[in-house]
């Protein structure tokens, strides 16, 4: 296969995941050498906005109607669509208060200025289009991105961890903040990949990478309740980065809270 034709785009969000690509300083030449980057609006002007693409990387969340339109267009253009960042994969912080009506939220956040634009209920990319690979993280880990590119060059999908932050925390032998200090750590239900960055600095995991597959949320809630955290504290922490995830549905949370 020749060099794959690649696009890098952002929907509504902080563009932090696109920035991780640009921050691959040492590897940037290798990346540019291996990929034929057709368009990367954040980094270069004059990109080709119509050509078919082999791979498109998309960060951000669908928050405005134009995001949905852009996403669907990218899906049509690209053979592989890769969601990068927790916003794209799970909805991110934009989706934190999806149960509050849009108008009310807009008014709270923007006041009268909110009248001039439209927003929709923020949803991850997979609610609108097929996502071929999801690389979560707030922002994504550079190593995971580079591994993904390297695997894609071999015509393969990368191997991403399907276990929790605790696993990496113990591999690095960090003291457990939950067991030892009774802190509200979401490591047991958050997907690994960051090498337990926060516990490495003595801070609990706040779940920025989103839930691990089959996260046992009700057991986590139960054990946090036993440690004396209030239902409000727990719920707020759980719903910061990935509120639309099935495992954080109200019903499941309440099960844990009542147990």
């Amino acid at each position: 296969m020749g060099k794959p034709k690649v696009g890098v785009y952002g929907l509504t969000g902080c563009a932090g995941d696109q920035l991780v690509i640009l921050n691959c300083e040492e590897e940037l030449l290798d990346i540019a050498g291996a990929l034929d980057i057709k368009s990367f609006p954040m980094a270069m002007s004059g990109g080709d906005e119509n050509c078919p693409l082999d791979i498109v990387f998309v960060d951000g969340t669908v928050v405005q109607p134009k995001d949905e339109e852009m996403l669907k267009n990218l899906r049509e253009r690209a053979k592989l669509l890769i969601a990068i960042g927790t916003c794209a994969v799970w909805g991110g912080v934009a989706a934190m208060s999806n149960e509050t009506p849009r108008e009310e939220l807009k008014n709270k956040v923007y006041g009268p200025a909110g009248q001039v634009f439209d927003t929709v209920v923020p949803q991850p990319l997979s609610s609108f289009v097929k996502v071929d690979l999801a690389i979560s993280g707030c922002p994504i880990e550079k190593e995971q991105l580079l591994q993904a590119v390297a695997s894609l060059l071999h015509g393969d999908l990368p191997r991403l961890p399907n276990y929790s932050v605790c696993t990496e925390c113990k591999m690095s032998e960090y003291p457990c903040l939950l067991v030892e200090k009774g802190q509200l750590c979401l490591g047991p239900i958050t997907v690994a990949g960051c090498k337990a960055r926060c516990p490495s600095y003595g801070r609990p995991c706040i779940g920025c990478r989103g839930p691990v597959e089959e996260a046992n949320v009700s057991s986590e809630v139960r054990l946090l309740r036993e440690k004396g955290f209030t239902w409000v504290d727990i719920q707020n922490r759980l719903r910061t980065f990935a509120a639309p995830a099935d495992c954080f549905e109200d019903k499941i949370l309440k099960e844990g809270a009542n147990a």
Binding site: C166, T167, K170, M171, E173
Partner: protein
């Protein structure tokens, strides 16, 4: 076995001597309460009265992640260059820990020898140290509270001295190199040793009954206990990471951007993970969390017995100590036993 006495006031100096036999590692503080084996420079950094470290000694020989070989499309593969003949001395190793290593030696020895493990194993001297059990230790039940082999030296506290058992010729060299620090064993020393051994034996609080356990496990294969534990378990994998005898790993290739080179690596794995028993075609032999928890217990207490004639659990208590959900192996086993007692 040669036995000598090391007065406690000579310990600091002896530790200094040990450093000439390799880089010294010992239990030392990490954070407020935790302990880890790590490099130390003198006695002041060593926690002599510790109970358990977060990770067992397997981390030195069977690393959490490891490069197995480098590969290149044209040149084939080559083994990673290990640091030249660097030696290590690990001081302060408890009996259950030594038994844990002996079990890993069996597993990695076998028919297909794990050269990565043994290359490192041969460079490390083990200086054992006895301990006082806490409420989670049950090594007395698993028969791993005492060691006859598997150490170069073993120190037992007898009050104002250590009774030192010499286990290997390397251990003998260590004693000889610091000859003036040791003295001969006297009758009082032997008595103090026996007294302390009895006292230690009597201080165990946790206990599991191993007798008939494999049979009971078979009978209780469908027990609701597994469902209960499965509901609590977070599949976080901590119990496997911290267990001295969990030795599963997963192998994968990490490719470079040049499309031509890469590394084959391995990383600790756990049967508690969803993907562990996933096979091509998408079938998962242990899709339910309860069946995965059950597997961990079965392998320790049933499968390993069939294969090696003893359970692989050494009673260190780590899996309970670090489980966020508080799952307690002693409690699970006693529940299973009471199932059939009716």
């Amino acid at each position: 076995m040669r036995i000598v006495i090391l007065p406690k006031e000579n310990l600091a100096e002896f530790i200094g001597h040990l450093r000439s036999f390799g880089e010294l590692h010992a239990p030392t503080k990490r954070g407020e309460k935790s302990l880890v084996f790590a490099p130390v420079s003198d006695l002041s950094e060593i926690e002599l009265n510790y109970t358990r470290t977060i990770l067992p000694l397997k981390k030195y020989f069977f690393k959490a992640t490891d490069v197995m070989f480098n590969f290149c499309a044209e040149k084939g593969y080559e083994l990673p260059v290990e640091e030249a003949d660097k030696k290590y001395v690990i001081f302060g190793v408890h009996p259950c820990e030594i038994h844990g290593l002996k079990i890993l030696d069996l597993v990695f020895g076998g028919k297909y020898v794990d050269t990565y493990y043994f290359a490192r194993r041969s460079k490390v001297a083990i200086i054992g140290l006895d301990c006082i059990p806490d409420d989670l230790c049950f090594c007395r039940s698993t028969g791993t509270d005492f060691v006859d082999t598997g150490f170069d030296l073993f120190l037992s506290d007898i009050g104002d001295s250590y009774l030192v058992r010499v286990g290997t010729s390397l251990g003998d060299d260590m004693v000889r190199a610091a000859d003036s620090l040791f003295r001969q064993v006297k009758k009082e020393d032997r008595e103090a040793y026996k007294r302390n051994s009895v006292q230690r034996r009597d201080s165990f609080q946790a206990e599991i009954q191993l007798q008939d356990l494999p049979g009971i496990m078979d009978l209780e294969y469908e027990s609701h206990v597994w469902e209960e534990v499965g509901e609590k378990c977070l599949s976080c994998g901590i119990c496997s990471m911290v267990c001295p005898t969990c030795y599963c790993y997963s192998v994968f290739d990490e490719l470079s951007l040049d499309g031509n080179t890469g590394q084959r690596k391995r990383i600790w794995d756990s049967c508690l993970f969803k993907d562990y028993a996933l096979v091509a075609g998408g079938h998962n032999f242990r899709a339910q969390r309860s069946s995965r928890v059950k597997n961990r217990y079965f392998h320790k207490q049933r499968g390993f017995v069939s294969q090696y004639g003893r359970p692989s659990c050494v009673g260190c208590g780590r899996c309970k100590a670090y489980c966020p959900a508080g799952i307690d192996i002693v409690e699970v086993i006693s529940k299973l036993r009471s199932e059939i007692r009716v």
